[in-house]
C-alpha cells in the first residue's frame, strides 16, 4: 500500500496558489460567458455588425498569416543555416517587435505610411493606393506585429532539423533549393503548421497596431477586437460580449490545435 503523506508547507503553498489561479481564471471566463442572456447573445451574433467583423477579421488574418509565412520561412532559414556579418544585430532587430507594445508599432507604421508625414505614403497615394485607415492597413499592421512570432517558431523548427539531411540529399542529386523543398520543408511541416495557427489567432486578436494604422471605423475597419472596443465605448454590452466570446473561442481552439501539432515539433531531427 502506498502511504500518503501530508504535503509539506512549501508544497501546500505552491499547490494552493496554483489552485487559486485556476479558480479565478474559471470564474472570470464564466462571468463573461454568463453575463448576457442567450437570446441577446444570439441576436448579437446574427447582427450585421458582428458578421462584418467576423468576416473582416478572418479575411485579414488569413492574408496576413500567409504573408507572415512567406516572409518568415526564408528569414528563419537564413538565421539557422547561414552565418553572415552582423547576424546578432539582425537577430535583435528581428526580435524587437516581440517586446514592443503594438501601439508603438502602429504609430511607427502610421508615420511611415501616412501621405501627410512620409514620402512613402505620398508615393503610394500618387499610385492611387490608399493604405492608412483601410482594410489593407489592418493586414499591414498584423503582419508587422506577428511576423516575428512566425520567424521564431520557424527558426526553432529548422534548428531542430540537422543540416546533414540536406547534405545527403545534395549528394543524391538535389539542388540546394530541391533539398530544402523536398527534405527540410516536409520535415518542418508540423512546426510550421503550429506557427500558422498561433500567428493566425494572434492576427484575429490584434488591436493596438490595427487601431493606430487602420483606425476604428465601424463597418469599414471593424475587426472583432475593434468591434469589441467600439461597442464597449457606446455601451452596447451584448454586442461587445459577443465579439469577446468569439475571440475567446478562437484563442482556446488555437491553443488546443497548437498543442496537437506542437507535440511533434518535439521530435528532434538533429
Amino acid at each position: 500500500m502506498v502511504q500518503r503523506r501530508l504535503p509539506t508547507f512549501f508544497q501546500a503553498v505552491c499547490i494552493g496558489i496554483t489552485l487559486i489561479a485556476v479558480i479565478i481564471l474559471i470564474a472570470v471566463f464564466l462571468g463573461l460567458i454568463l453575463f448576457s442572456s442567450p437570446e441577446a447573445l444570439i441576436a448579437s451574433f446574427l447582427s450585421d455588425e458582428i458578421w462584418y467583423a467576423i468576416k473582416l477579421s478572418i479575411i485579414t488574418a488569413v492574408i496576413s498569416t500567409l504573408i507572415c509565412l512567406i516572409i518568415a520561412v526564408p528569414i528563419a532559414y537564413s538565421m539557422t543555416r547561414f552565418s553572415f556579418f552582423g547576424k546578432q544585430w539582425v537577430n535583435v532587430l528581428l526580435n524587437l517587435p516581440l517586446s514592443l507594445p503594438p501601439l508603438v508599432a502602429g504609430v511607427a507604421l502610421l508615420i511611415f505610411l501616412s501621405p501627410v508625414t512620409s514620402p512613402v505614403g505620398q508615393f503610394f497615394t500618387g499610385l492611387g493606393i490608399y493604405v492608412v485607415y483601410t482594410p489593407m492597413a489592418i493586414i499591414i499592421a498584423q503582419v508587422f506585429v506577428n511576423a516575428p512570432y512566425m520567424v521564431r517558431i520557424a527558426r526553432s523548427t529548422f534548428a531542430m532539423i540537422s543540416p546533414r539531411y540536406e547534405h545527403v540529399a545534395r549528394t543524391l542529386g538535389c539542388s540546394e533549393f530541391g533539398a530544402f523543398q523536398k527534405i527540410t520543408l516536409p520535415m518542418a511541416k508540423n512546426g510550421l503548421i503550429g506557427g500558422i495557427i498561433i500567428t493566425w489567432s494572434k492576427a484575429m486578436g490584434e488591436f493596438g497596431a490595427v487601431l493606430m494604422l487602420a483606425g476604428a471605423i465601424a463597418m469599414k475597419t471593424e475587426t472583432l477586437p475593434i468591434a469589441l472596443f467600439l461597442n464597449m465605448s457606446t455601451g452596447d454590452l451584448d454586442m461587445a460580449i459577443a465579439a469577446a466570446l468569439i475571440l475567446l473561442i478562437i484563442s482556446g481552439t488555437a491553443l488546443i490545435l497548437f498543442e496537437y501539432f506542437g507535440k511533434d515539433v518535439g521530435d528532434v531531427y538533429a
Binding site: 540537422s162 546533414r164 547534405h167 545527403v168 549528394t171 543524391l172 542529386g173 520535415m187 521530435d267
Partner: protein
Amino acid sequence: MLEIDALSIQLGEFSFTDLNLNVKEGEYCIILGPTGAGKTILLETIAGIHYPKNGRILLNGKDITNTPPESRGIGMVYQDYMLFPHMTVAENIGFGLKERGVPKPERDAAVQKIAATFGISHLLERHPKTLSGGEQQRTAIARSLLLRPSVLLLDEPLSALDTITRERLRDELKAIHKETGMTILHITHHFEDIYALADRVVVMRDGGIVQEGTPDMIMRHPVSNFIANFTGMDNIFTGHAVMTQAGIVEIHIGTMIIRAVTELTGQVHAGVRSEDMIISSEPFTSSAQNSFTGVVTQIIDIGAYSKIVVDTGIILTAVLTRQSIQRLGITAGTSVWITFKATSVHVFRE
C-alpha cells in the same frame, strides 16, 4: 583517382590548411583521428558541402573543386543514417534515381534488387523510425550505393551500432568493396575496422594529416600519441574461436581460453586495451568473464601511469596508477589476478 591538392578551408572556428591526400582507384582508405581533427569536414568538403578557401579537388583528373555536390557523383553516409523520416525505406533508397528522373518501374526494380542484397526487402514499406540501427544503416548505405558513386564517403558508419551488428555490417562493407571495386573513404573510431577493411590508413589531427600508410605500418609504428592511445592494444592474440552460445565465443589461445562477445568464429585476432584490465591480489569474482592468475614480469613507468606486464601463460599488459601499484604492493615477481570483461575483447579478422 581522388586527389586533394593543398586544400585549405575555414569554417567558423575550424580551419585546415594545405591538406594533401591521394586516394587510388578502388582503394579502401580509412581516416583516423581524435574528435575535432576535421575528419567530417574533410569528407563534407570532398562531397561538395563546403567550398574550400584554397586548393583543388580532382576526381579522375577532373577539377571538381567548384562542382556542386549533386554533380560530383560522390556518395555520403553518416553515422546517424540521416534517413528522410517522411519517406518509406523504398522511397529513401530510390530518392537519388527519382531525382535523376528514372521512371518508376525501373526505379522500383533497382530498389528491390539492392534491398535484396542488403537483406532489407521486407522493410521497404516501413518508415525509418521503426527500424533498428543496423537496418537503418543498411538502408542508408543502399541509398547511396544505388547511384553507383565513383567515391563512397562513410562517416563513422558503424559507430552507432552494437558489437554484433557492427561486425556483420563490417563484413558487408568488405564484400561490397570487393564486388564493386568502389573507392571508399571511411572515418572510424574502431581499430577493428582498420584490420578488417583498410588498404591504407590516414591519421588526422588538428586539421592536418600526421601519418599515412598500410594498417600494419600505422599500428606498429605510430607516429602520434593519438594512434598509440587509440590502438592502446598492448594485448593482441591470435586464436581459434568456437561459439558456445549465441553471440558469445571461446577463443582458444594455446591452452588458454578467453571469452568474448562476437559472432566471428574460426581463426581470429582478439585485442584488449590495457586500460580494460583489472589487477587484483585476490581472485576477482564479478560478471567479468575472463580471469587469470600470473606473475608480474615487468613494471614500465609511463608518466602518471605504469604498465604492468603479467605472464599468465600468455603475456597480458595492464595499466595502473602508481598509487594502485603501491596499494597492491606489486613488484616484479608478485603473483596477481588479471581480469577483463568478455565485452572488452575486440575480435576481428584480418
